[in-house]
Amino acid sequence: MNDEHKTRTVGIDLQDSEESRALVDAIEEDNPDAEISRMPGLVQIKSTRELVIRRETVEQRMGREWETHELQVHIVSYSGNIAEWYDDEIVIKWENWRPPVWGVQSSDRGATTPQV
């Protein structure tokens, strides 16, 4: 099972625009393993396990204040699961690595990724 999980990727597709360039730079900085590719009009960022977008890094790159909600203007698609969306960061990752406990949200039962 675990071997299978290692190949599961998450990703996000952003519009290729002047503004999202700083965003892409910030994502690259916070996710050193991420792979970036381009299609006309699109920047596609892929990563195994998870992708993090941090407000502080984006603000440094943009040179202005930035709300995580602003991602909505740039996002085109994603693959995976939006696990967290807070004021300071957004995390995209697959959640379930252990059997479910019925009637309990995954976040409450402490779903975690296995240690590799």
């Binding site: 990727t9 998450v10 994603y78 807070y86 004021d87 697959w94 379930n96 479910p100 019925w102 995954s106």
Partner: protein
């Protein structure tokens, strides 16, 4: 974060939990009467999570920003005669398919999410549905605005509402969506939010939007990006609602599994039209249907999503294997149907130019040269002899997906697949095991299908001759038929040899 502003999480909680109340002098089931009869058990609606944590102020702010950006591009494109920089007028056929097939579904989605925004028990779900309802209306409007500039110069776009309701091939998307909205709220969410907007979204988006980008259609590309930015929220809703149902009660698992099985196949069959458009209607190709299917379905969904759902006891959709087998030939089979019947459609078809046939030989090495290239070369020969082939009869339709019965036995592209079921002393026909399985689960529903061919024979479509039916469809001269002799092609050639656009 601005100083003095509450954290996002707290604002969202205040909106979706604190503003809500529990009725005391009316029973909850009287206030929300539609969320119990499907058998889905919900114990705690507060467990509904919306990772976007949208509030009214941020929703309005960002949606307004998206619209401003979009309309600046649409105006610029129209003012600069952007349609003249397309790769070819043939590309516009994909817009005809989109406007008549997809835009009315956006409007239907707007209406049904408005219903959910009233009828879900939990305030979190109701607010997410309200936002999506407004999104879908925005999509219907912006798509209409974006494509309306083409309506000044090209055929087939002038009557899309009526066409959606009446034209034979448009009963495929129409009946798909009406199957969803006539189901209960949880099944609808599984059908549209999860199966269509999460599982299959990239297979719809990439062909149309990257197709627009590759073929010089800046306006549609920009509209597409603008809509997709909402779509990411809809995908999230789809995934959350599935997890919510699965986590609330173990008894929900088999019900949800059945719906996933049904709606995967319903959505996949509908995308047959998209597959054909992707491989045949785009003069400049992005990737083949086969490659898109491998990347977005096999890689992202089967390897990414389904291991996540496996923990709840959910397995990949029944009949997925057949879809995998069909990736080698589905687009060719659907476009061959469209080619033969485009005299009764609102778009033009033609035999692909030689270099496109070569491309298909390359990307479909196992099937194209053997089964489809000879077909197209024969069709071209006939055309060159002045005998362009159109099928002069009405096809048998699948009772469930409503596509003419042109699909073949899985793995055998030379034998047409026919499945049947008997119900109340009548025989019903299906294009595949998937569609038969869907019928057999709910025969009482699908015997009511409005099948265009049956309706024509029953005299409900304007008359008994083809011209009468086409008139009832709302077609104008040149809307359908062969592309090479179409008004679109003739105008295009004129405009590119110096004639005044819009002139006689």
């Amino acid at each position: 974060m601005a100083k003095g502003k509450l954290p996002m999480r707290e604002r969202y909680r205040l909106l979706t939990r604190d503003l809500d109340w529990t009725p005391t002098y009316v029973k909850p089931e009287d206030v929300y009467p539609y969320t119990r009869y499907e058998g889905i058990k919900i114990h705690d609606w507060d467990k509904w999570e919306d990772p976007f944590r949208l509030t009214v102020d941020s929703y309005c702010k960002y949606q307004a920003e998206k619209d401003k950006k979009l309309y600046a591009v649409i105006d610029g494109f129209a003012q600069g005669q952007g349609h003249l920089s397309l790769t070819d007028a043939r590309y516009v056929n994909s817009l005809k398919l989109f406007l008549c097939g997809v835009t009315p579904l956006e409007y239907a989605a707007h209406r049904h999410f408005a219903y959910l925004a009233r009828h879900l028990d939990g305030a979190g779900g109701r607010f997410a549905a309200l936002c999506q309802s407004i999104d879908e209306l925005r999509h219907a409007q912006t798509e209409t605005h974006t494509i309306s500039q083409y309506n000044k110069y090209y055929g087939g776009l002038h009557n899309f509402g009526q066409m959606h309701d009446r034209v034979w091939y448009l009963s495929v998307p129409k009946s798909f969506f009406e199957d969803g909205i006539s189901a209960g709220p949880f099944e609808f969410l599984t059908a549209i939010s999860f199966s269509f907007e999460y599982l299959l979204t990239n297979l719809l988006f990439v062909p149309f939007m990257s197709g627009a980008s590759f073929n010089g259609d800046l306006a549609t590309m920009t509209f597409g990006f603008s809509a997709q930015s909402d779509e990411s929220r809809h995908m999230t809703l789809g995934l959350e609602v599935i997890k919510f149902m699965l986590e609330q009660d173990e008894a929900n698992v088999p019900i949800v599994q059945d719906w996933i099985d049904k709606w995967f196949w319903r959505g996949y069959r509908l995308l047959g039209l998209v597959a054909a458009m992707m491989d045949y209607m785009l003069p400049k190709k992005i990737m083949s249907w086969k490659e898109a299917f491998e990347l977005y379905m096999e890689k992202q969904m089967l390897e990414g999503l389904f291991p996540d759902l496996e923990y709840y006891g959910i397995r990949p959709p029944r009949h997925i294997q057949q879809a995998i087998t069909e990736k080698e030939y589905m687009s060719h089979q659907v476009y061959w149907i469209l080619y033969q019947f485009s005299h009764a459609a609102n778009f033009n078809t033609t035999v692909p130019p030689r270099e496109e046939l070569d491309w298909m030989s390359e990307v479909y090495p196992d099937t194209f040269d053997r089964h489809y290239r000879p077909l197209w070369e024969r069709a071209r020969d006939l055309q060159e002899q002045g005998k362009r082939f159109f099928f002069n009869g009405l096809p048998m339709l699948c009772q469930v997906c409503q596509i003419p019965m042109g699909f073949t036995e899985p793995g055998d592209p030379s034998t047409i697949c026919v499945r049947t079921s008997d119900f109340r002393d009548e025989r019903f026909n299906f294009c595949s095991d998937g569609c038969k399985w869907i019928f057999d689960r709910e025969p009482e529903k699908y015997v009511q299908a409005w099948l265009p061919v049956h309706q024509i024979y029953q005299g409900n479509c304007g008359g008994s001759t083809i011209p009468e039916v086409l008139n009832w469809y709302g077609f104008a001269d040149g809307d359908g038929g062969e592309y090479l002799t179409s008004p679109d092609k003739l105008n295009w050639d004129k405009w590119h040899t110096g004639a005044v656009v819009g002139g006689a």
